[in-house]
Each structure stands twice: as structure tokens, then as C-alpha cells.
Amino acid sequence: MARPGAFPWELFEALSNARGVTGDEGPVRRLLRDYLAPHADRMEVDAMGSLLVEKRGRRTGARVLLGAHMDEVGFMVVRIEKSGALRLQKVGGLDDRLLAGKRVRVGPQALPGVLGAKPPHLGQEEEASRTVKLEDMYADIGAADEAEARAHVRVGDTVTFDAAFEPWGAALVRGKAFDDRVGCALLAALVAGPSPADFVAAFTTQEEIGLRGARVAAQRFEPEVAVALEGTGAVDVPGKRLAALGAFPCLGRGPVLTRRDSTTISDPRLFELFERAAAAAGVRWQPKRPGIGGTDAGEYHRAGPGARAISVSVPCRYIHAPAALAARADIEATLELVRAALPKLAALQRPGGTPRENS
């Protein structure tokens, strides 16, 4: 039995394998709800489908919210062709170059399927030098015609990559949806242990199409301090320009602290707090490439009267693709860092009152 508060590897595996494309997060939510029921002081599912958990701790201070999003990028079936092929549209950001020839699971029954594309033998020569676009692709579940397809699939069904979680050696793990099931697992671990302070754990929906669940959660709780826990893209891979522009974050260098990304400029005092907590706990951390990527913190910091916000992330190669890679040590170090910082978050000074008058 894992020691209480350790990183929940089994839960992470279940979360990674669970299917929850934006708008269809139910299976992920139910997993978390069942896991957290014994540990939460209060749990509710809001109109967006986000799971909002209140955790009481030993003292009260600033209103703290920790968040992770439950949704993953995937596809939606938008049309069923006469041939039985399924036309898809992306849900969330996906690189067209990664899609052709991948295995998928379709609809609530998780029907196996493949993302086909015209074979190179049959196309024109110039087609071979262009990316296959999603419009030219189809999902094939083996249906002989439209009628057979319709017996199993409906327009509106969501489609996930088909990838099973597995360890790679002792150091790495591979699976889909590390963005952001790793954040969900971290947050679940924080809820499952005893807490030094009150906080709200927001397992949000619809991050991948515009931080929509986070917006509503923030409007509900009006946190003063908010931390988004994420799986962020590691780029320690070969690439022409990466060396010149900086090939980081990297696997194995610990949690990623964001100073600014495309949606949020992290609060400088909150950033310092995490730096100090890392130093005190002996956790090595690494910076995030500024300006790239967005997280739920983008809504947390400007909902209501505003909040201090930051993103703390596990570096993962190949997010938004079927098989992401992460290092066990990075995941555990991220948990250790957030745990070390948590008691300090509630004690963060308000800017001289709300707002203090002086002149």
C-alpha cells in the first residue's frame, strides 16, 4: 500500500488511460470523484462538469486554489460517410503532421479504429511532399457502409488516441493525455494527504478550447492565490532551430516554473515563493520558455478582483500526441515542491488589504 501522500502511480495510470476529450470529461471526473470521496471535505460538480473539491487544513489564510484540467485533446465525429468512414474534426490543438496512421478509440464504447489516409502508392507525386490534412483523413472502424457505422457511432461522439500507459525502463513512463492527467494525479495526491491549509482543488474541464472550466471555477471561488498544475512540453529533442533558440524544458531536470507564458504573467512574489520552497526542499527546478503555451492560470489571475497565479508543470515530451514521455523523478519532485510550497501560499500577504488606501 502506497504511503499516504506519495505520488499515486496507479491512479495516474488509470487517469492517463481514461478517455475524456474536451466536453466529454465524465470518465475522468468519475475516477477522481471515487478516489477523492474519502478525503474531501466537500465535493461538487458544477455546470461546466468541473469537479470542485474543498479541503480543510490546519489554518485559514488567503483563499488558495490549486487546479488541474481533466480534458485531453482529441476529435469529434462530425459526419458519417456512405462508405462507413467517419469524418473527424479536432477538439483542441493538434499538429496535422502527427495524425495519419494512428490508432484511435471512438465513442463511449471505445470502439477501436484507425486514422487512415490515402496510401503513398495511390497519390500524385506532389501530394507526397505535403502534410496530410485532417479533411483528407478519415477514421475507419471497419464498418462496411453507413448503416453499419450508424449502428455503433453517432455524430458528436468523441475520439481519443489509443495508447496504453506503460513504463519505459525504470526512469520513464509513457502514455496519452499526460497534459493534464499528470496534473490531476498531483492534485489528487495533495487532496488525499493531510493538508497544512484550506484550499480548493479544481479539476476543470474545457481547458483545451479556451480555459473555460477554469474561468467558471475562479468566478465561483474568487481565489487570492492560484496554482495551475500542468504537463508542459519538454523540447530536449533534435531539431534544427532548437539548439539556437534554447532546447528546454528537459526531462530529468525537475519541475518547470513558469514566469510568463501566452496567457499569464505569473505573480513575481508567488514565483519567488516557489523558488525559495524549491531551495529549502532541495528540489531542482527549471524555467519554462516564455511566451509559449497557455494554462488555466490565465483565467485564475484575472477572474473577479484578480489573483496571484502561477503554473507549475511536469516536463513531458510529445504532449498533444498519442504517446507522451515523462520522467518518474520529475513527477515526484514536482509533488514534493508543491507540497513544500503549500503552507506558504495561504500566508502570502494581500497587497496591504483589499485594496489598502494610502497616499
Binding site: L245, G246, F248, I265, R302, P305, G306, G352, N358
Partner: protein
Amino acid sequence: MKELLSELSSAWGPSGEEGQVAALVRRRVRGHVDTVAADVLGNLVARRRGKGARVMVAAHMDEIGVVVSHVDPRGFVRFSNVGGVMANLLAAQRVRLKSGRVGVVMEEERGNKEDQKLDRMYADFGFESAAEAARHVRVGDVACFDREPVVQGHRFVGKALDDRVACAVLIEAARRLKRTPNDVSLVFTVQEEVGCRGAQPAAFALDPEVALAVDVTLTGDVPECRPMAVSLGAGPGIKVKDGGHIGHPRVRELLLRLARRLRLKHQLEVLALERASTDASVIHKVRAGVPSGCVSIPCRYVHSVSEMVDLRDVEGAVRLVVAFLETDLRKAGF
């Protein structure tokens, strides 16, 4: 006004790090208002209490700039943009870190033209090694453009007139505002250039009944430019619409009446650029809505290091804002 505007233009304050500008604004405005307070994001609220309508007037303190994304092994710095930086205006410009250290921005001579332009640029702060660089700069640090202002006749040229000229207008308006029946909050906002992020929570907290943004707008009076019926020197703009906001008709009509009563040169302004807007675009959506307008300062070369305004337009904007704030806004229907 020239001294105030020079000070504000030269102040260091890229989006997210407006503290130095806020300190300057606080010093200049504190004698003319009842209270000055900062919120959690750094928005500065200078308040003149009153029993009448709650009115918010916003000018943003932040300027565009660059953020350090990588320091290479030889000490050259790669960067990304803070706000709407125009990459084709960067080569040979200078940028300044918070410490005051200055760097030269250049484009790779033999860079791949298919790459993003900003990715082909770098800043040279004169570091002789990565080790030396590490003592001065790290990933996530920001820099603003570095240029001294110049005044020639009525024309003032400087960096960051977007939107320091509006900060100057608000400060001067506070100085001239004698009596007002309204409850006035002059809000010097943060992070406008990265998405009006400061104005939204500021407006939520204040819950105003009517609001004005003061910001720069483009002109249509330079060679071979996109047509626009706004010219430098023809007076402040009263905004009809821009990419994110349609001026509330009642606010617009009030501003027009006041301009005529004051015999003030003014221009009706349409900014037909879908991506361009002001803090008003978020303020008017807050809570149950806030009827909002915008007073615009015509400005050439916006988002370059040499923005140009006409001091007569600035003076006109001050007079218009003062007149607006002196109006009993409850009686005016807000």
C-alpha cells in the same frame, strides 16, 4: 506637460513589471486625489470620492517590449515578444533591462527566411560569455525599448507614448479637476498590451456605472498609409469603434456635446483594425455591463520606438476628460 510626458515616456515598464511607472504616477497624482492604492496585479487606483455616479477612467502603464527566452553559450540573448512588437521595426534598436543594461537587437545575417522573424533575431548586451550573462540576466527577464524623447514645436516623439501619454492626461486632469459630483477612480492599469488583463479585475472590483478609456489611436495622415480620417493636430478622437469595442452612444454623444461646448477641436474616430482595441473592450463586459467610451490621442508610428503625438491634441484630451468628470453623470443618465 512636456516634463511629465518625458518622464513617463522614459520610465521603464514592460507588461507585467509596471512598478517603476506606478511609483512615478503615484508621486505625481497623490496630491490631487483622496487616496492611491494598488491591487494584487499592480493596477493603481487614484480616487476622488463623491456621492454621485461611480466613474472609472483608465490609462495603461505598461509598454510593449521583449522577454528573454534563452541565453546562448556565447552570451547572446534570444527573446520573444511582450505585446504587439513589430519584428520588422526591431533591427538596430536598443533594449533596456530593469537594471539599466542596454542591448542591441539584430537580425541573423544568414538566418533562414522561412523561420519566424523574431526567432531570427537576438540581442547583444555586450556580454563576453554566458557566465558573464548569467550574472545580469536570466530566462523570463524583460526589456523595453530604449530611446530618449524629443520635442519639436507641437510634436512630441518618444517610446511608449502608447499609453504613457494617457497616463499624463489622467494626472493632469486630476490636477485640474476642481469639483466633481461623481465618485471618480482614475485607474492606471497593468498588462493592457498582453490582453487588457489588468483592466478586467480592476473594473470588477470598482463596479463602475460608466467608464472611459484613454488610449492612443492611429492616424491616416502619413504617406501611403491605410486610409483613416484621423490626423495629428486635429484634436482628440472621440471613439466610434475599434476592433474590440463600440463606443456606447450615450457616452459618445456626451463627449461630443462637451467638445462643442468647449469649442474644442475634435475628431470622430473609427479604428478599422480588427486586432486593435483598448481597456474599454474588457471594461464594458464586466458584471452587468458598463457603458464605456474612449478618448483617443492621435499617434503616428504606434508600437514603434518613435511614436509621435501632437501636444495640442493632448491638451484637448485633458480638457475633454476634465469636462467629462465635472459633468453630473447621474443626471446625464448613467
